[in-house]
Amino acid sequence: MIQPTSLNSNISKSHFGGCLIARMLERSWRAVPGPLSISPEDIHEVAPQLLATGTGALAWHCIQSLDPPSTGPFLDLRNAYRQHAAESAVHQINTSDIFTRVRAAGIEPVLFKGWGLARLYPDAGLRPYGDIDLWVEDLQELSAALPSGDERVYCVDPHVSFYPQYERSFDDVMRNSHLVNLDDVRVRVPADEDQLRFICLHFLFHGAWRPLWLCDIALMVELTDSKFDWDRCLGGKRKHADWIACAIGLAHQLLGADVSGTPVEKRAQTLPRWLTTAVLKQWEKGNGMSLAESLSFSLPRRLLNPRTLVSAISEHWRNPIQASVEVNAWFNESPRLFFQFVSAFPRIPEFIKYFGTEIRRA
């Protein structure tokens, strides 16, 4: 059975839920996750957030050797693992199918995230599976090669560019990419340096709301070896290299990722104070809004109710991380409120227009 333990003293009393998520997921990406530092009662409390943000299976991986009961949230965590394990088999079939199809049409895509990341975990069931993110040169060509009508059984998320701060061209990524075996198909994935750079930026641009993304970063950092080209991973503008170093630093400070011997080791010890707090606060809050998402999906039905309107507006307020990357700011000790205001301004006219439309409709 899981033995109750006292929480680590440096867990802040504020953002308690976020701290519990961090403690639960400490070293969860490793084959042997290590001792658990939270109690069964805390797992009960934090399980819904873990499940909603896709880290239920990782949590199960941490507790399964402790023979937890097959009831309540423990069963939910185990079922999340079972679900991802079954979905992984389907996702692998779909991924190999899409590569076979698009290659037949003369297209060579690069697979980002998804199976490209999941394959690095010690077990296929530890991570949820969603869209198949493909980077291609030409969307029209890809569209023509995708299955149509009744054949459509999976969701492909095509990209022709990523964030400007990624600072990598398709040709550049393609040149450094490599092929990995997936059953009988060779799947093209980016170089580890390009993948790590991408997932760090992705984590920041989405406001860090999914703890799973930080586990992905931790996993990739711990898999780096002497061949890993840190200059390539961090190459580009100094500011963006610092963002990436800070994302890795968060994996170190919040989840216990080992960053010793890496060029970001020093930065990982000295993160801006607002950064760690912003992540924990966001994890406690739960789902966040995505990059370029100006208005949340649930906004229309909430606009005309004064009580829910206040919460809708507060949801549209960018967290300090998302605001900082949206306005391309340095991650330093200066207060973030200014950046949060600046990132809100461009969306105000659209919000007012939307509000006006809803009033007229009512």
């Binding site: 239920g56 079972r82 679900q83 079954a86 389907v90 969603g130 869209d131 995708l146 459509r152 969701c155």
Partner: protein, 172 residues
Amino acid sequence: MKKQNEIFLPKARKADLVTRQMPGELLVYDLKRHKVFCLNDMSARIWRWCNGKRTVAELTAELENHFQLPIDERIVWLALNQLEMFHLLQRVSGVSFSRQFSRRALMRAGLATAIALPIVTMIAAPTVAAAASAVTAQACGTFTPPCPGGPCINQGSKLCVLSPNKNICKCR
């Protein structure tokens, strides 16, 4: 039951199913219904042996042979009952599955002492909230349904969703 047993040759459904073997259990993903089922070791064995050529008596004999224990035929019927309920057997007309093969009934009859009863459960894991990626209007059109539902870039508040009657994704 005897008459039914003689004519019934259960056959496992294979179409639109993807399996993953885990320690002590088999996970089955139904691509048609988008459901995941968990078969414990006993039910997984019975399911695999359902090749449309073995009778229930022969399946029972296979189990006895494997476990080196006397097995009651009702245990096989319990497994078949559950497999049929979750559409994991090919449809067979003229065969009715009786409630007498419920797990509780077999436990009351003292049949769950030496071996684990077959259990098939449907996994009900909470939906994981996905990060909605923002897409261009052009990229939205290339999605294969189900559409992502994420926001469209430079399209106001439009979302990349299914276009009615067209079965394509469109910024709306």
